[in-house]
């Protein structure tokens, strides 16, 4: 029985070993000259600005929660699909009821526009784009 799942730990171990080996190798042969600039995060060549710890908008949270609800729903579809052939019509009806109830929730949320992505309207040159409005020379580097 464990043999069925043997590939999983093998994959995990292999991936860890592979990455550890690669890192170890580069540690051995690559020259290491650390500096503050090198340690800073890479942002496509731009200068690093501010902290990565910014406050997320609550809309991400709402989307994530809706996602969880429907993921749980999808996960429960798996065992249904497996036993569908044996149980037949009754399982079908049961799943239709289950999905129907959740669909009502989805319709209610959808119709009210809660699935729409709320766009944040920031006028040009304000908020986080404040620096853009200034003449470019004034921005100190």
């Amino acid at each position: 029985m464990y043999n069925d799942f043997a590939p999983i730990p093998i994959f995990i171990i292999l991936s860890v070993v592979f990455i550890a080996f690669a890192l170890f190798l580069q540690h051995l042969i690559a020259p290491a000259k650390r500096s503050a600039l090198k340690d800073s995060p890479y942002e496509c060549g731009e200068e690093v600005e501010g902290s990565a710890w910014v406050q997320f908008n609550i809309r991400f949270y709402v989307i994530a929660l809706i996602f969880i609800v429907f993921e749980v729903e999808v996960v429960l579809l798996f065992p249904w699909a497996v036993v569908f052939k044996e149980l037949g019509l009754i399982a079908f009806v049961e799943m239709v009821v289950f999905l129907g109830i959740l669909t009502v929730g989805l319709v209610a949320v959808w119709r009210r526009g809660d699935l729409d992505w709320v766009k944040m309207v920031v006028p040009y040159g304000q908020g986080r784009y404040a620096k853009l409005a200034q003449p470019q020379d004034d921005v100190d580097h």
Binding site: I90, E94, I101, V104, G105, V107, A108, R111, R112
Partner: protein, 477 residues
Amino acid sequence: MNAADILSTLPELVLTVTALGLLLLEVMGKPPRARFVWVALGGVGLALGLEFAVPSEGQFYAGMISVDLFTRFFNVLFLTTAAGSLLISVPYLRRTLEERGEYYALTLFATVGMMFMAKAHDLTITFLGLELLSVSLYILVAFYRNRVRSNEAGLKYLLLGAFSTGFFLFGIALIYGSTGTTHYDGIRLAIGSGEQLSMALTVTGFGLLIIGFAFKVALVPFHMYAPDVYEGAPTPITAFVSTGPKVAGFAAFLKVIATAFAFTTQHWWGILWILAAITMTVGNITALRQDNLKRMLAFSGVAHAGYLAIAIMVGSADSAFALLFYLAAYAITTLGAFGIVSLIEGEDESGLDMDSYRGLARRSPYLAGVFALIMLSLAGFPPTAGFLGKFFIFSAAIDEGYTWLVIIAVVNSLISVYYYLRPVVAMYMQEPADESAVAVPAFIVPVLLLVVLVALGLGLFPMSLVKNSIAAAGSLF
């Protein structure tokens, strides 16, 4: 699944469909919001009718639920409470311009949860019913999203409620681990035949279940959330929160103890004895100091949970019947109390202090009369239903030899008279600030009539409820 299964849950199905329909109506192009309450009340009425029209008896859904007189008693009580709370809500929602389909739908969902808690014959259903009830209530408590206190109350309720749910679930897991089943009968058989893995595991699991229930019915020391939640929630929801979970919690608690543990575990370390004594005392003494009516009624609810815990602990047929009688009287009178509080309440949650009730007898004599009756019933004066409820519980406890606990309870009842009479004194013996009569919306009138019928009618002619309670409690034994 077959037709009998569906028939056994017909009232719950009707309520569910009504609630889902309300959710859909709410998102229509132009929601007919003024009619929502009639849809909701229609669903409740239909469910109530089906409860009697299609009676079933026995276990259904592969033993997941059991339906008998006990569940019918509680279903009627739940549906009445739900209808009363819907009626109280309408004027309040219209006054504050918050009448929305979700409100009614969530009230109905919570009612479905309560009904399944009473019908459950398997801890899985007990848990899911409890969660359905709790989650709906978390949302309802925080329903007024632009009120800070409503939000705060909702958050507190959610956090502490989730915590207690964890205890409850852990208890179920331990019981399952020990007995190998979550079915009430299976647990009883495993304990009785000694096939459980270990008594210690079962008892620990049972202790954790007690914590879960104690939170829902607000027993000290798990009552901390009650005053803040009751005060912060919109008043009609306070009426629902203070009755629904309490009645459903005690119903499920009694059924679990009676059928899964056969009244063998509740004496465990005298823990319920201590809980009941502390709960009564803390609830009553703290209520003495409250000036805000909602907080006062919150602590009074805590104290009543203490009296009810006595009935759970005693565990005789008499005490089970007393518990049912007391719950019915308590639920209806408390509902009426909060209904009247919501009428006196002014804009922005003002008018909740004792002073707002000064001279109410001169302003609105009938309203004051009903409120005084409610207070007397809650305090346990004869000839009200509250008195009879206390009398039944105390005499059942004395029969089983719990004299000291009854002495504590009686002393507590005497203490409670003081704070229950404060609003009565204010209404009848003090001068009103203004002479204008309090407007009583038509929606509230049936609730007030029901309160009078229960508090006074059942106090004078209790036999109908007594018979039903005895029959309902009898189906547990």
